[in-house]
Amino acid sequence: MKCREAKEALDRRTVLAFDEADALARHLRACPDCAAVARTRRLTRLLLEVVTAGDEPSPYFMARLRARIGEATDSPVAPRFGIRLLVPTLASLTLMLASGAYLLSPPPPSPVLSFLDSPAGGSETFSFLGIPRPTHDQILASILEEEKRTP
């Protein structure tokens, strides 16, 4: 038996045939490298057995699980294909409709432009801290007044 065959045999989980087991044993006696591999494999499996060994889950395991399942939902979530697609599809459609409505709607009037366009200067709707906004005429009058005062 060659080293490669020995390692393959060591990897196998099934019981080896008598001839193969005999050949492997002879090879391991003659080859320190493969013997070290074999020992490591045995110890590794042993360590894993030690680590994974344990008692059954506690007697309350199933009762706790039942309670948690009951809290979470009355029945298991069975994500059917249609339902799984429905939620994201509806969300995307809503988003698209909202975006479209926003883009197609006329832009809101600019406060500055609406002020300049309004004949009365919008004094009743545009005030700051309750002080009525001056009208066009009042602003123009104050500018003229200022110009007159300027030498």
Binding site: R13, A36, V37, R39, T40, R41, R42, L43, T44, R45, L46, L47, L48, E49, V50, V51, T52, A53, G54, E56, P57, S58, P59, F61, M62, A63, R64, L65, R66, R68, I69, A72, T73, S75, P76, V77, A78, P79, R80
Partner: protein, 202 residues
């Protein structure tokens, strides 16, 4: 529904039990829990130490219940549950920063001596206290990256095929082989008579 083992569906296939659970028969899910609890607990114990095992087991089955509709028709529930358990263990280890907390230099002189004896002669295992041995085994396996440890556990302990391990861990078969090689090499360094860093030097 009694506290003991559920009586129904002992011979029922996984697919049948899944269908019945989805139809609202909670007892069918309990048969699945009963059928796979040992596998799930072995996987969790192999990945994380101590007290959290039962909680992660609970979370595994709860998540499984919530997403049972994802089980593909005709496939076994076991590997799917193992995958949920492994992912939860990864999350848990990430939170713990397990690898940073444990290192081989944590081994005390007594542990190093036992390990040396064990390497020389496996029959000494019988004389070693089980709790002590368990702690030692956890420290040694704690040297491995969680993914490498998962591969080692599923291959060496559960005897799964490379293909199945790849499916459970969501990686390629090449990645499984690579991780197995890395895990074995690391353990061979620790167990194969090479020098034990920390243990012998300190």
């Amino acid at each position: 529904m009694g506290e003991g083992q559920p009586d129904l569906g002992g011979q029922a296939s996984d697919g049948d039990l899944v269908r019945r659970t989805l139809a609202g028969e909670q007892q069918a899910f309990e048969v699945l829990v009963h059928r796979y609890r040992r596998l799930v607990f072995r996987v969790i114990r192999g990945m994380v130490p101590g007290a959290e095992v039962e909680d992660i087991g609970q979370e595994t089955f709860l998540r499984a219940y919530r997403s049972l509709g994802q089980v593909q028709q005709g496939s076994s529930v076991g590997p799917w549950l193992a995958r949920i358990a492994v992912n939860l263990c990864y999350d848990h280890l990430r939170r713990l920063r397990w690898r940073q907390e444990r290192s081989f230099s944590d081994l005390g002189p007594e542990e190093t001596t036992v390990l040396d004896r064990l390497v020389q002669d496996e029959s000494t295992l019988r004389d070693i206290d089980r709790l002590f041995l368990r702690d030692l085994a956890e420290k040694l396996l704690g040297q491995l990256a969680p993914q490498d440890r998962a591969v080692l556990l599923l291959k060496e302990r559960e005897g799964m095929e490379t293909k199945e391990v790849a499916r459970i861990l969501g990686c390629s078969e090449v990645a499984v082989r690579l991780r197995l090689f890395r895990a074995r090499r690391a353990l061979r360094k620790l167990l194969g008579g090479e020098s034990h860093p920390g243990g012998r030097e300190t």
